[in-house]
């Protein structure tokens, strides 16, 4: 979803969610005594566009994290395929003992 194409309904939904989350923030309650959407925006000096951009940024970050993670998984897979196949039994025994050690 493009920020410029965000509908009024989406903006409403976002700000309701922001207000709900903010209502539970004791710092905001103490400072304002209420939790309206405008207070939410004022407290955090956000424009609607900035808030929406940040909203999407959360998903963008999640995506970037998984992309990098899955690339690394592919690297490990190609470098260790033979190793996994040949050493599985021996590997499992030592692996369990090592994890037990870490737990203490």
């Amino acid at each position: 979803m493009d920020v410029e194409q965000a509908t009024d309904a989406e903006v409403d939904r976002l700000f309701r969610a922001l207000a709900d989350a903010t209502r539970r923030d004791p710092r905001v309650r103490a400072a304002t005594g209420n939790s309206s959407v405008s207070v939410t925006a004022r407290c955090y000096s956000m424009s609607v566009t900035a808030a929406l951009a940040t909203f999407h940024d959360v998903l963008d970050r999640l995506e970037a994290m998984w992309r990098n993670r899955l690339d690394r998984l592919g690297d490990v897979l190609s470098s260790s395929r033979k190793e996994i196949r040949h050493d599985r039994n021996r590997h499992d025994e030592g692996s369990r003992a090592l994890l037990d050690d870490r737990r203490g």
Binding site: M1, E10, R13, L14, A17, L18, D20, A21, T22, D25, R27, Y44, A51, T54, F55, H56, V58, L59, D60, R61, L62, E63, A64, M65, W66, R67, N68, R69, L70, D71, R72, L73, G74, D75, V76, L77, S78, S80, R81, I84, R85, H91, S95, L98, L99, R102, R103
Partner: protein, 165 residues
């Protein structure tokens, strides 16, 4: 290229990534089921993961910490909802303090991993990760103005800074 497709759905607060690997589903599953393999890819080189508990079964818990360049440790884990080798893994992630106590104030995401052998030696893995509600996503934003955001996403920040896609 590993990642072959990606969709983001702000309405459902979800994100889906599809990756394909030239390996069997069993071998791809091992990358999750073998904690020593998991450590090799879960964290970026600048924030390597150390697994401290690994019970990959429904009701089980996986615990790990990631170590930053400043030697600071960031603890987290997964509550396993479903684990069906070699095709399906479902978990909720959580952040924790240094004693492993869960921090329920930080938002959690649910992740579903589907692994499917497509034939021709290619295995497709689909990762669907979603926030439980738009409110949970908004919580990340509210925290974003505060220090909590650093706790929740510093790993990702460092990752993005060091490893541009």
């Amino acid at each position: 290229m590993t990642v072959t497709a990606m969709t983001k759905d702000p309405e459902r607060c979800s994100m889906t990534v599809v990756a394909e690997y030239p390996a069997t589903a069993a071998l791809v599953w091992q990358l999750w089921a073998d904690w020593q393999q998991l450590e090799r890819w879960w964290g970026p080189p600048t924030f390597p993961a150390t697994v401290t508990a690994h019970d990959l079964a429904a009701g089980g818990v996986v615990r790990y910490y990631m170590t930053g360049p400043d030697e600071e440790r960031y603890h987290g884990g997964w509550r396993i909802l479903c684990a069906e080798a070699p095709s399906r893994l479902e978990f909720e992630d959580f952040f924790a303090d240094e004693d492993g106590a869960e921090n329920a104030d930080l938002p959690q995401t649910r992740t579903v991993v589907s692994i499917e052998d497509t034939g021709a030696g290619i295995t497709r893995m689909v990762i669907e990760s979603h926030f439980p509600s738009s409110e949970a996503m908004a919580q990340v934003l509210v925290m974003g103005m505060e220090e909590g955001f650093k706790q929740a996403l510093s790993q990702t920040d460092a990752l993005l800074a060091k490893q541009p896609t």
